[in-house]
């Protein structure tokens, strides 16, 4: 079980795509920093996360969504988390792989 963090926007870089290529079914993905733009619904990148949600849990850091004013426009099924939840996820997953 690996927790993958992604901190780059899918509109500018391929970081999330690289991550999703190797993510396995027991893993989870956390979108942080500019990575939260992948959580946007009805965008040209929405399918990336919508497809990922079929097999893995996807989380997004709420303070980063709010900082970018997009917390009301995110894809259904993404779970929003605070830093406390972020730490809890790192407790539950044996390893953390950071994609940046």
């Amino acid at each position: 079980m690996i927790l993958h963090t992604v901190n780059k926007s899918p509109f500018s870089q391929n970081t999330l795509r690289s991550c999703l290529r190797v993510v396995s079914n027991e893993d989870s993905v956390v979108l942080i920093e500019d990575g939260v733009y992948a959580a946007l619904d009805d965008s040209s990148c929405s399918e990336l996360i919508k497809n990922a949600l079929q097999r893995v849990a996807v989380y997004s850091l709420l303070p980063d969504l709010k900082a970018r004013g997009i917390e009301q426009r995110i894809i259904h099924g993404i779970q929003t988390i605070d830093y406390n939840d972020f730490v809890s996820l790192t407790e539950k997953h044996a390893r953390v792989q950071s994609w940046f």
Partner: protein, 130 residues
Amino acid sequence: MIYSLAVYGPPYTYQASDTAFHFAEALLAKGHELHRVFFYHDGVYNGTRLSVPPQDEINIPARWSELAGKHEVDLVICVASALRRGVLNATEAERYELDSDNMGTAFNLSGLGQLIDAGIHSDRLITFGA
């Protein structure tokens, strides 16, 4: 659990240092131990003690120093990354015969081995990339 963090991002340019700091606060609030924060690549700029941000902005290097003082966290600046970027403590400034140093006293200059050691000593090693 014992945590260590690796910070690759400089203050103000990227969010990495800020995210790492909030993560550090959250893990300490949950009762975990923060063993070490390793600053690598441009992350070494977090170690300056000469940062003077505007009054309504956060002093990111000072904030790390305060956290380390309060929770006895080992803040390690990668020496190879730091020297080539002009981040030096008094010892290194003297060694290279330079007229000043700029590293905060809460930070320690050391090698990449400390990152490996942090990985061995800690239950979790989390990287915050730029």
